[in-house]
């Protein structure tokens, strides 16, 4: 013990300036990471801003009861999981298929130009994307209703029709991240050793057989790691996206209101932090169980593909 403390002091004395370099990042992480932990306790309080964390009254599980006894609890949980699953599955399949197509492309410059345009939406904010969606779907001026009219189909009041929004949001999410996922999967394919393909060709494999038996299996590690990372955020419903596009349009809540937007409204519109925190705590706990569980399953199937 004494020896290690001496070692600690000596380490600080001899490399002090190196430790100084890490101080700003460490302070930031301490304040915005570790110091936020105690605030989770307000989920069990009748919190108000005047009395604060230390002097508010404790109320046990009342805040949780309030949330779970309302029909909205199931609705927002279901929507969060539904949308995230769709984003992950459709997004992965689309990017994977596109990466395989790109890999078959012969022309270098064509590949480069098309990659640039596919990557472009990634750099747009969700507010901009909300304008794009509005210009397509706006009831009065939107281009989609004009196209429908051209084919003599009745216009649709998109912003009042929740049934379409699951797929509208999925399309938007996939569209925006397609380029980024494409770059990653294309790198995974390029990393595959050429000798596999040569061996396959000598055995007379067709192009489709090469893709099915070499490219796809060898992409699996990358896919499973990215999917696991995405599963870790499955309870977090991309507030940025949904609030920018849907805002406070209550008509669409049945299919697109997620836990994040619900928490936001409890906190900022209704102004009840304790209640918001209770929902947030539920979100973190279920989220953690889901990552842990899915990691365990992946580990059982193939230990190499697990995250931790």
């Amino acid at each position: 013990m004494k020896k290690s403390r001496f070692g600690f002091l000596r380490e600080i004395r001899s490399n002090g300036s190196a430790y100084l370099l890490v101080v700003p990042a460490a302070i930031y992480t301490l304040v915005f990471g570790y110091f936020t932990l105690p605030y989770m306790l307000i989920a069990f309080q009748k919190f108000n801003f005047k009395t604060g964390l230390f002097n508010s009254a404790w109320v046990g599980f009342d805040n949780f009861k309030f949330f779970f006894s309302s029909p909205r609890a199931w609705e927002v949980t279901f929507n969060t999981l539904k949308l995230n699953f769709l984003f992950i599955i459709v997004g992965t399949l689309a990017a994977m298929a596109l990466a395989i197509l790109f890999n078959e492309l012969r022309s270098r410059w064509f590949s480069r130009i098309t990659q640039s345009t596919i990557l472009f939406p990634h750099f747009l904010s969700w507010v901009i994307v909300s304008y794009i969606i509005y210009s397509l779907l706006s009831t009065d001026y939107g281009i989609l209703n004009r196209v429908l009219a051209f084919f003599h189909i009745d216009p649709v009041n998109w912003y009042a029709s929740p049934q379409y929004w699951t797929w509208i949001l999925t399309t938007a999410a996939v569209w925006k991240d397609l380029g980024m996922n494409l770059v990653i999967y294309l790198a995974a394919i390029t990393g595959i050793d050429d000798s596999y393909y040569e061996a396959g060709r000598i055995d007379g494999a067709t192009r489709w057989q090469l893709i099915r038996h070499i490219t796809i299996p060898l992409m699996l590690p990358t896919i499973s790691i990215l999917t696991l990372l995405a599963l870790g955020k499955i309870m977090y419903g991309s507030f940025d996206m949904i609030y920018a596009i849907v805002k406070d349009n209550g008509l669409l809540y049945p299919t697109v209101d997620v836990i994040d937007t619900y928490v936001f409204r409890s906190l900022r519109t209704i102004g009840n932090p304790a209640q918001a925190m209770a929902v947030g705590l539920y979100q973190s706990v279920v989220g953690f169980i889901l990552v842990w569980g899915s990691n365990k399953i992946v580990k059982k199937v193939n230990p190499d593909h697990a995250l931790f």
Binding site: Y28, W126, V127, I128, Y131, I143, G232
Partner: protein, 292 residues
């Protein structure tokens, strides 16, 4: 060598061509609407090939008394100051975490990693910002969530770990301090990864509106993205501009095209820097995904 079926290649190229056009076409629609005459929008809706072109929206935004310039300034200040701070903080910490002669580097790595895995969520984040007095200051747009990102830290650390320790040892023998080694030896050697995180941070700052919606109520501090958000949700924002309608000599305000023109001006810098963005973005993704 088997002969390649030409037909497949042609179909493949066509398919990829169509997908890439679909990725950019919606943005072109917004661009064209911003140049469309208001009366023509009222009559024909948004069109990719407008019946009547007009510069009214841009005239109003650039020469009228709109909040555009102020928000532009806020966004530029926040992005520049924030990115410089963020890159400095991250690369300094990255050096310490990568330097092999630092005994506690792995412990420090764990300290940062834990906050990546376990997230306490929105409410504690909001309350701690209130307690720090961040709300309604420009710092609210610079510091919370944006000024340091552990993902970028590990990107830098992994890159710097490849620098041979003998370089540090040689410099140490010559009497160089860690500050000197970090700033004069490591950082110049790590320009590609520093460019990448500059881009990651820069984009995050420019596109951020979350901090504004959470912590800023003062209109004078609205960054561009939040102004844009408000413009679409609150008709009053546009009506405020009404007073400057005189500049066009018309009674009706080009509402629809003004919204779209603001959107176009907001992505202006992104388009301007796009070749740079794209190159270092791809590089960064590859550094991040190929690490073992």
């Amino acid at each position: 060598m088997t002969s390649r079926p030409k037909f497949f290649d042609a179909v493949n190229a066509a398919l990829i061509g169509i997908i890439s056009i679909l990725c950019i076409l919606p943005m072109l629609l917004v661009l064209m609407v911003s140049f469309t005459d208001e009366a023509s929008i009222k009559q024909f809706g948004y069109q990719l090939f407008p019946s009547e072109l007009s510069l009214d929206a841009y005239k109003l935004l650039l020469f009228g008394s709109t909040p555009l310039y102020r928000s532009y300034m806020i966004s530029i200040i926040v992005t520049v100051v924030g990115t410089i701070l963020a890159v400095t903080i991250t690369s300094m910490a990255g050096y310490t975490l990568a330097a092999k002669h630092i005994r506690y580097r792995n412990g420090l790595g764990l300290f940062f990693f834990i906050t990546m895995v376990f997230n306490t969520g929105l409410v504690p984040w909001y309350l701690i910002n209130l307690n720090l007095g961040m709300n309604n200051t420009i710092w609210a747009l610079i510091i919370p969530s944006l000024v340091f990102n552990p993902f970028n830290l590990f990107l830098v650390r992994n890159y710097m770990s490849q620098i041979p320790p003998s370089l540090t040892e040689a410099a140490k023998i010559d009497g160089a301090s860690d500050f000197y080694i970090a700033f004069r030896i490591y950082f110049p050697l790590c320009m590609p990864v520093l460019a990448t995180i500059t881009l990651f941070y820069g984009i995050a700052y420019w596109n951020n509106w979350f901090n504004a919606i959470m912590l800023v109520d003062n209109e004078k501090l609205y960054p561009l993205q939040y102004l844009l958000f408000k413009l679409n949700s609150e008709i009053s924002m546009i009506q405020q501009m009404q007073s400057s309608g005189a500049i066009l000599g018309t009674q009706t305000l080009p509402q629809e095209s003004v919204k779209m023109a603001t959107a176009i001006l907001t992505i202006g810098p992104v388009v301007l820097f796009y070749p740079f963005l794209q190159r270092y973005f791809i590089k960064g993704l590859l550094i991040g995904s190929l690490k073992e």
